[in-house]
Amino acid sequence: MTDTQTKNIDQTVVKAEVRNAQLQMLNEFWHYFSANKGAVIGLVIVGFMVFVAAFAPWLAPHDAGHQYRDAFLMPPVWETGGSWKFILGTDAVGRDMLSRLIHGSRFSLFIGVIVVSISLTGGIIIGLVAGYFRGWVDTIIMRIMDIILAFPSLLMALVLVAILGPGLVNAMIAIAIVLQPHFARLTRAAVMSEANREYVTSAKVAGAGHMRLMFKTILPNCLAPLIVQATLSFSTAILDAAALGFLGMGAQPPTPEWGTMLAEAREFVLRAWWVVTFPGIAILVTVLAINLVGDGLRDALDPKLKRS
């Protein structure tokens, strides 16, 4: 009787303590993260991008697909010949650059989210299985990962897209496949170092099943490096998707994806600088902001660098 009681009391106390500890961790995390000015700036920019993407149809002054037949290649407002109607000018078929850039933010963030979700989930499952079961399962899985990594990422993605057919969805799948081994390797390494820790052994002794051990016991303790890798992959995904678009293998026109816009604009390099410059700046700023956040996350999550 008393036994169960103490146990009950213990549990509530433990829960409270856990909550406290979690809060404290979060606090500590924010403390380190916010100490990094760059990371905060990055976060603000990312927040802004998310806002722009979410409200694109309301923010964009024009329909991103509408062709103004009387305004082909109109320069930005501050150049001679520019107009307030098209603040950043128009492209070769008279579409408003600003509106296309605003809508483009949706694609880039969408690409980042989807690619990271696919490669993270895939990589975690594969890495967990390999690291947990070891033996021949591990050997085969890791060999396959080695093979994927032996090809330069962009080349691999290019060939995969050529197989699947050019397009945004296929480009995302290709990039996810290429990025996935990084997550698998990271997870596997983390699992292997955690697998022999006491808490895992005790969970095992307590009779936890494979699934529970893998996902509930081990995985939460390997999250920090995965989060950092996920932010890095987010920016890589945006860059690679843009590169594929640039090579004509990513999103297809008239999709206002930034890389695709650059590819379409390439023939105007000498004549209309704005169609070339703005999509590039948009890519650079977005990726830079995400990388800033990634740096902040790493500093805050990586105990090794924390106090140096």
Binding site: R143, L155, V159, L160, L247, L284, L288
Partner: protein
């Protein structure tokens, strides 16, 4: 470990190329088309009519005899094509690495030593921007500015057409120097500047950041503190004690950039019309030149593997900690 990976690579390359949609015979024929009976003949000629496993087996046997197939577009052996273009890519990649190392390591060291200074902050800001750079766009911007507006650098190619000499090494810098023609070396050098910067941007950023964090770690270690306490000068402490140890992870980083460089070469070579394997691969993919894509994939993967292995070995040699174990 290498052997199964190698077989895996050949299977992947072969398999990919088989499932590529599109038809090289039709793409080559263009609007004029090709008669059905002629089409059948061509299928037989290219060996596409055989069962898939037989095609793979033939391919593998040929591979071991150094035969990577014949390009459908040029009708030349794929290996020949690859080898004529490879030096151009190597030259560009080496220049990019040298550029990245020469700028990145000193920048990283100074940043670490003067941690938190304006220099550190600016450098790391630039490094992160470089790391985030869409290099295909960066290349276009540099061309517009340096070649277009200022007219300082040539737009594309490897050397001015005024110079002509036999290719001895395939490396334009060396060949132009050997040729003894005045101005040839300078011309080759000028042609290399923009592509080098574009391809070197990301490695530069990575190396600078890696050097800085490695230095920071080492500077905090006991033996460096001891050296300082012993009253050794700043230069000596950093130059002799800290740097030697900090460079070990940096070298690994440099090795790992090879894959990055080859991927970057695809974009850089496309922008600068650089006659290397990156551009050749893109062209081959677009042309559906199956044998070239297949051979190129295998060769490139092999190179990446060999380089990674070499880096591992080198790492073992220079890292005393690993050697002792």
């Amino acid at each position: 470990m290498i052997v199964p990976t190698f077989f895996g690579i050949t299977i992947v390359a072969f398999g990919f190329v088989r499932v590529l949609p599109g038809d090289p015979i039709l793409a080559l024929a263009g609007e004029r088309g090709v008669k059905p009976e002629r089409y059948q003949e061509l299928l037989v000629q290219f060996g596409f009519d055989k069962p898939i496993w037989e095609q793979y087996f033939t391919y593998l046997v040929n591979l071991f005899q150094g035969d990577f197939g014949t390009s459908i577009a040029t009708k030349r052996p794929v290996l020949d094509e690859f080898l004529t273009l490879f030096p151009a890519t190597v030259e560009l990649a080496l220049c990019a690495i040298v550029f990245a190392v020469l700028l990145g390591i000193p920048a990283g060291i100074i940043s670490a030593v003067k941690r938190g200074s304006w220099f550190d902050q600016t450098t790391m800001g630039i490094a992160l921007a470089g790391y985030s750079m869409p290099i295909f766009w960066w290349g276009l911007l540099l061309i517009i500015f340096f070649s277009g507006t200022l007219g300082w650098t040539p737009v594309s190619g490897r050397i001015s057409l005024l110079y002509y000499f036999p290719q001895v090494t395939g490396f334009m810098l060396i060949d132009s120097f050997l040729s003894g023609q005045s101005g040839a070396f300078k011309s080759a050098f000028m042609h290399l500047i923009l592509p080098t910067i574009v391809l070197g941007t990301i490695p530069l950023a990575v190396i600078a950041r890696q050097t800085r964090s490695a230095m920071l770690e080492v500077l905090g270690e006991d033996y460096v503190r001891t050296a300082r306490a012993k009253g050794l000068g700043q230069v000596q402490v950093i130059g002799v004690h800290a740097l030697r140890n900090a460079l070990i992870p940096v070298i690994t980083t440099i090795g790992l950039q090879v894959g990055v460089l080859l991927a970057g070469a695809i974009l850089t070579e496309t922008i600068f019309s650089w006659p290397g394997i990156g551009k050749w691969m893109v062209d081959s993919i677009f042309r559906r030149d199956y044998p070239s894509v297949q051979g190129g994939l295998v060769l490139i993967a092999l190179i990446v593997m060999v380089v990674n292995l070499t880096v591992d070995v080198l790492y073992g040699l220079i890292n005393p900690r690993i050697r002792h174990q």
